[in-house]
Symmetry: C2
Subunit: 230 residues, 2 copies
């Protein structure tokens, strides 16, 4: 059973969750990383998550498998086209086809189960409400409501330990996330952000996620190390 | 896309969730049943869930697979002994080893994802706070907190549709649940409640779940049809 400075960190393999893990490590938590293999078509991110967890010194890294594709309804799990070449204005118009129903709720629930087994009262998630691409479950109000629920759902809550959901990036722009990650030693060359399953493990450069990432590196005024010729 | 009278019903294959499905059908909902194959050692309940869904006229029945055993921590998923022959007083002393960390949170999160894909604003779960065997995630305050969170988590919530988590059995004794189920046409011979993985698909009669079920049938003053000689 871990002590009070143990945290579960949701880790997708993208740059936001890598910076989140680095933040939790920097805050002094012993970090247990959790990735979810949810039938996403862009599975290269799971390999990236493994490399990121190792490079940042996570105590362990689990991959929970659940096929959200059985429900259908998202371009990230079903056979729908991933939108390309959208301007940032268009990305925040409504909820995009890449939205996976209840994804962050499901991920945080799994993290809560893992945290309860570890005896960890702290959970980190790299959601971001600034460049959030229109997902309802990236808003601060959602995180607060999940935390309130988590404290009623669990043995820890019943026994009086306060569970905290940390979303350290929630108010940062992508550029500031990248700068913070660099300060904390994140190797962004290990991260993978592309939504396109047909890009063969190389970023397509045209989906919302690639475009937001590119905009972030422009804002931070550095080159994306994942795009270097190799 | 389904209309407003569509519901997702969590269905374990036990008598509580069978009565819950019968209640949702009786309320006029077109019901989509969802079971979770979570690596439980007592998997006979999944076959029971299928039979119950069919007998009560569910529109569809999905089984989501997720291995909660990767986290360990419960006699229902890990190689720990299932407690036997405990008195009802003992069952409510603290949280038992059969508690699966964050189980109802995870199940409701999956139901929320399915509901969002269906366009269903109603979710039913057969939790019970009376004979609840000491689980924190069976209490009314937990259900209310989950509902509040769900309305912030989803596209439906953002678009102004109110999501409701129904827990129609939450204040009923096991005997009253059985009476209600019988009134609504539940065939309890199809249901399966035993926690013991070694009972070979026959109820062991000695785990908490078997003992609560037996007490319920005594209270309802009828014989358990699942125990008839066959």
């Amino acid at each position: 059973m871990a002590d009070a400075s143990t945290a579960v960190v949701l880790l997708s393999g993208g740059l936001d969750s890598a910076t989140t893990l680095a933040t939790a490590v920097d805050d002094g938590f012993a970090c247990y990383a959790l990735s979810v293999d949810y039938g996403q078509r862009h599975r290269f991110e799971l390999g990236a998550a493994k490399a990121v967890a190792r490079s940042l010194g996570a105590c362990d890294h689990l991959v929970a498998e659940i096929d959200l594709g059985i429900f259908g309804g998202s371009a990230l799990t079903a056979d729908l086209d991933v939108p390309k070449d959208r301007s940032p204005d268009r990305m925040t118009e409504g909820i995009p086809v890449t939205y996976v129903p209840a994804r962050n709720t499901i991920f945080l629930s799994l993290a809560l189960g893992y945290a309860e087994v570890l005896g960890a009262a702290d959970i980190f998630i790299g959601v971001n409400a600034v460049d959030y691409s229109g997902y309802p479950d990236c808003r601060p109000r959602f995180i607060e409501a999940f935390e309130a629920m988590a404290n009623l759902a669990t043995r820890m809550g019943v026994e009086g330990r306060r569970i905290t959901i940390h979303a350290p990036l929630i108010e940062l722009t992508k550029g500031r996330i990248i700068r913070r990650g660099l300060e904390l030693g994140v190797d962004f060359a290990l991260t993978f952000s592309c939504y396109d399953p047909d890009a063969g493990g190389r970023p397509c450069g045209r989906c919302d996620s690639c475009l937001l990432r590119a905009e972030g590196f422009r804002e931070a005024d550095i080159a994306d190390p994942a795009l270097r010729a190799d």
